[in-house]
Symmetry: C2
């Protein structure tokens, strides 16, 4: 391979101080910085690095053509997003072909439920792509609760709120420790599933973990609405401890 | 609260460059550094920070009185370990009472299956304890495989090799993406459970993720023995992707 490198840089849960030393160095020395955002928004990943990039860095916002306007089950959803990712990679390729390195900002850990993976699978093989792992959003969330998530032989299960209610409830019942992400408009379904699984009263809701506006509360005490981004539900394991 | 602070500092998977900026700063400025190790060994956590601590730092190795010599199910195991953790916290308390801060080195993320939690529960409440989350060992492992661990709505389950074979197999069958840790002497049982769950051929074994001696191979191609520490098995999710 010749040409530049695409760095998929995990930013962690949001606090700049919790980025890895490698991520910090790559961002502070970047010439090209790409990031996803919803059209018309500043973008969460971009906001996390406020003040870190060189003034000369060239930014490449990649704006999702759809987010929740089209259902995930509509075949057009996949077509539109697939074309979008292909267009994004064409731009990144044009930069690396010219010998330039590009930093792609990724919230959380790039290989853990992230959008960067869709670029990665289209780029790796013929372009040098390096992935910098990061502290996951869920790690930030359980740390915020002030209690360990897993002990001894605890089974940890990570669930997306987008799953159907029966799948959620049966997996919740089976796990010792739980993390639920992608909550947003799925909050009522997630609450019902937690009740079915007998774990509702032990669930915590963490919003904006590690950020200045961080909140931690029992889910049962929380308002009906939760913030669409950066909301994570945690149920702590209670495993073996001397 | 008055006196010093105990910092439970997550070191991440092993590469110093993957520590958080905060962990890096705390370690490079530490006056007191505590860490667990097996008696007669240098200690994995201590080795990760080689060359980082000030020469004037005072080290406090906390040596496990037992590791695998006594069965987990033997009541003496819990008694001996409980006394050990109480003794460790007494020393940490004597330092914070004198106004000193102490950095406790933690492999991986402190609240994710770590020994620090046993100190944390004994110290927090009357001593200022701050936990610095970190990149988990499993994040280092899946990044090493060069493939994303979870996509779309994938269910991720994290299992300890110390669980019984039926529990392992049923949870493996039920998950989309899998991580198995604490493998060591449980490797044969873990292999059988993966076969029962139909996931053996998709499993990867990662040893020493992010470290200079990192290896990644299909589990089916691996030798019968695996390294007791730093071995993680990963099965990637195959969820929705445009």
């Amino acid at each position: 391979m010749s040409g530049g490198t695409v760095f998929g840089v995990g930013l962690g849960p949001g606090d700049q101080d919790l980025m890895s030393v490698r991520a910090d160095r790559l961002i502070r020395n970047a010439r090209h910085v790409a990031f996803f955002r919803k059209a018309g928004r500043p973008g969460q990943a971009r906001q996390i690095v406020n003040g870190m990039m060189p003034e000369t860095a060239i930014e490449f916002p990649m704006e999702y053509p759809v987010t929740t306007e089209i259902s995930l089950t509509d075949p057009r959803y996949n077509e539109i997003l697939s074309q979008f990712y292909t267009d994004c990679t064409a731009h990144l390729r044009s930069l690396t072909d010219a010998g330039e390195d590009v930093v792609v900002l990724c919230e959380g850990d790039p290989f853990f439920y992230g959008s960067f993976m869709h670029l990665y699978t289209r780029l790796s093989g013929d372009i040098d792509v390096q992935v910098v792992p990061a502290i996951t959003g869920m790690s930030g969330a359980w740390t915020a609760t002030g209690a360990p998530i897993t002990w001894g032989d605890d089974i940890l299960t990570v669930l997306m709120g987008t799953l159907d209610e029966d799948t959620l409830a049966s997996n919740m019942a089976n796990a010792d420790a739980l993390v639920v992400m992608k909550i947003g408009r799925n909050i009522d379904k997630v609450r019902r599933a937690l009740k079915t699984a007998g774990k509702y009263d032990d669930a915590y809701l963490i919003e904006y973990a590690t950020m200045p506006n961080q909140t931690v509360q029992k889910l049962a005490d929380a308002e009906e609405k939760v913030t669409p981004y950066f909301s994570i539900i945690v149920v702590h394991g209670q495993g073996r401890r001397p």
